[in-house]
Structures are given as C-alpha cells and as structure tokens.
C-alpha cells in the first residue's frame, strides 16, 4: 500500500492530489511505526507528516499553483542514478543483521543500558523520553535549535504580515465564504485540543508524547482557528511578536537549564545536580526542557503557518 502510494505520487501531476497522497503516505508510515513499536515516532510522524507538513504544503500550493508541467528532459539519467543507489543499498543489505533479531549488535550494545538502567537512573517509565531528554538531551536541544533556525529562515524569507493596516482592503475576507458550522465546531474542539495538548505535554514521561508532540497539537489548535476564522483574527489573538518572543524563550529555557546545571557544578545538561536527589533532578530537568521544547515547537509551527498563509492571502 505504502509502495503504491509512493509510486503514484511520482506519477500524479495534480499537486493538490500529490500533497494529499503524501498525507496518506505519512499516515501509513505512522501505522508502520506503530507496528514496529515506535509509538512516539508514530505520534510525531502523524503530527508532522500528515499534519503540519501537509498543511504547510497546501498553504504553499495556494501561492504557487497546483498543476505540474510534464517534465521536459528524459527521465533516464535520474532513473539510472536511482537504480544504482538502490542497487548499492540492496547489495549492502545482503549481510546486514537480520530484521528483528534480538541478538543484533544494535540491541546488545548501547541501547541495552537504556533499557536496563534508565528506569532507575532517570525514574520515568517512557524510555524514549529518558533517552531523548537526558541521555541524548543535547541532540534534542539541537532539534529545538533546528526548528528555531527554520523559523528564522522562514521569517527572513517571508516575514509575517501583521494585521492589515486598513480594514477596507480585506478583499480576501469578502470573497471567502464563512462556514458557520465549522466555526462552531472549531470553537467546541479547540478547548478540547488545548487540554489534550497539555495532557500530552505532561504525560510524556509515562506514555507516548512529550514536548514536541504537545507543541504540534497546540499549534494544530491555532491552525484550526486560523483556518476557520481567518488570519486577522488569529494574529489578533496571538500577535506575531509574542509568538516570536515565546519561540526564543523556549530555546532559552532549554539552553538555560543546561547553563544552570553547569553553574551548579555538573556538566552541560546534567540534571543530576538540579536537586539533592539525582532522580528528582532528572525529573525536574526533563520537565523544564520538555516545556521549552513544547513552547518553541508550537510557536514556531504557528509562526511558520502564519507566514505561509499570509503570503497566500495577499492579493496578487
């Protein structure tokens, strides 16, 4: 099914369909992640692939047009490149460790420790969160920075239009038809979504979820609001400047935790020193940085969405 989708994506030229198929593809791969025991990843992939990315792409299509032209040059060269690459990979797989074998080096070396010790060392049941936030906490900080970089990049490319100076020019609004049913529905759903986001944020220690997923869900609520009520109302609710400040604040919260642990005598991002008991320290640390991740991710997603949409709404 996955393959079918992927291959069709190659052929279909109506870009809206391509993007929607991509959403389906993402959902499917998220399903596969579920089957492969990666609940957190499935969560994220669904949020990002099927959710945010797709919405972003759709928003882009509004400004860029929806039909792809037939390719002008022959597909032989790319085909050859792809074939060679694929062949190299398949050749390489021939003596790879077999799929799913518990004796693989992957499972016996580093990961072993995470599984055996992390509940004691970190004190939370979700090992993915422990590894994410503590053992490889620095990677996660990098991830937050990457997101932040994307925000900086998008802003420097597009900028977010604040409210229109002159309400007379709200031509976009006049054309678009209001959906009263949807607006009511959105108003019903949004509080629920926000609560759910908070739940995912703070439940991340025990089940799948955490700052990143929560951030995306939070952003999803705002995106829904923007979609049903329009850009101007959304920016009135959440001024762009505030969003940007929060994004930076989230990064600083994360980085600041590291600095604090450094000041308290540990290494950077060593949460052991945050409290008298190392396990408590880990707990506090993870809580704070997940919060930082959540804030940054949600605000960045919102900001990027607003930026893309504000271009789409601009009358040509």
């Amino acid at each position: 099914m996955l393959c079918m989708t992927a291959l069709v994506v190659v052929y279909v030229r109506h870009l809206f369909s391509v993007v929607m198929l991509f959403g389906i593809y993402s959902l499917l791969s998220a399903l596969i992640f579920v089957v492969l025991d990666a609940a957190d990843v499935a969560f994220t992939e669904a949020a990002v692939g099927a959710g945010v990315s797709t919405v972003f792409m759709l928003a882009t299509l509004v400004s860029t047009g929806r039909q792809e032209k037939a390719p002008a040059h022959s597909p032989l060269l790319p085909l050859a490149v792809v074939t060679v690459t694929g062949a190299a990979l398949i050749w390489g797989t021939l003596d790879m460790p077999h799929f799913g074998d518990p004796g693989n080096p992957v499972h016996v070396h580093v990961a072993d420790r995470y599984i055996q010790e992390s509940p004691d060392e970190i004190g939370i049941p979700n090992m993915v969160t422990s590894v994410l936030a503590s053992y490889r906490g620095y990677d996660t900080m990098g991830e937050v920075i990457v997101i932040f970089t994307a925000l900086v990049g998008v802003l420097s490319l597009l900028g977010v239009r604040e409210r229109r100076e002159n309400p007379v020019h709200r031509t976009g609004e006049r054309h678009s038809r209001p959906y009263p049913v949807l607006q009511v529905m959105a108003l019903l759903l949004i509080p629920f979504i926000l609560v759910f986001a908070l739940y995912v944020q703070f439940h991340g220690d025990f089940g799948p979820g955490g700052g990143f997923q929560a951030g995306v869900i939070f952003a999803a609520a705002i995106i829904l609001y923007t979609l049903t009520f329009g850009l101007d109302d959304a920016t009135a609710l959440l001024p762009v400047k505030l969003i940007c400040m929060l994004a930076a604040a989230g990064v600083l919260l994360y980085g600041g935790t590291g600095v604090v642990s450094m000041l308290l005598g540990g290494n950077y991002l060593d949460y052991d020193v945050l409290a008298h008991d190392p396990v408590h320290g880990q707990h506090y640390g993870i809580l704070v940085i997940e919060l930082g991740v959540g804030i940054t991710v949600s605000t960045v997603m919102i900001a990027i969405f607003l930026a893309l949409v504000s271009r789409a709404e601009r009358p040509r």
Binding site: Y179, V181, L182, L189
Partner: protein, 105 residues
C-alpha cells in the same frame, strides 16, 4: 464471556458497515452519492468499533479515552463532510440528476 460475544458481534457489524461504506465510496457514480455512502456508514461503523473496544477494556481511563475518540469522530466526521459538500457545491460541482440521464434524447 458474554461481553466478548457482544463485542465480537459489534466488531463484525462495524466491519460490515465499513466495508459497505467503502464499497459505496468506490462504486457510486458521483461525488454526492459517495459522500452519502461514506459518511453515513462511517459514523455508525466507528461507533460499533469503539463500543466494542470499550467492552473489551472494562472500566478505566482507557475507556474514557475511547469515548473521546468516539466523540471526536462524531463531531468531526459530519462537520468535514458538510464542509466538503458545501465546498464542492460552491465550486460548481453539479449533482447527477435523472435529467442528466434522460434529457439527452
């Protein structure tokens, strides 16, 4: 035991409804009929599945979550169907009518 039987029955009904809906989606001649097939069966199908699952799990936090799934589906599914039809209608997509079939002569 009896719970198991009921839930199995619910699953089966759900499957049946779902398949019907999907079949309708695939084989009905035009967009509006497809919407009809899909959305009607979808709602009930989801209800069957989720209630079956709720019976399986017994009473716990998970049940509440499942209930939320159901509520969510019930809220969003009709809403999106509505929005979809509305959009299609506004975009000028015409429903197939009998006159479409008969007026040719």
């Amino acid at each position: 035991m009896i719970v198991d039987i009921i839930s199995t029955a619910l699953f089966m009904i759900g499957c049946l409804l779902g398949l019907t809906g999907a079949w309708g989606l695939l084989s009905f001649p035009d967009f509006y009929t497809r919407v009809h097939a899909a959305s009607i069966t979808d709602t009930l199908c989801a209800a069957c599945f989720v209630s079956g699952l709720m019976l399986q799990t017994g009473w716990s936090l998970v049940t509440v979550k499942l209930l939320m799934v159901l509520l969510l589906l019930w809220l969003t599914s009709p809403a999106s169907s509505h929005a979809l039809v509305r959009a299609a209608h506004h975009a000028g997509l015409r429903a197939m009518t009998w006159s479409f079939l008969g007026d040719r002569s």
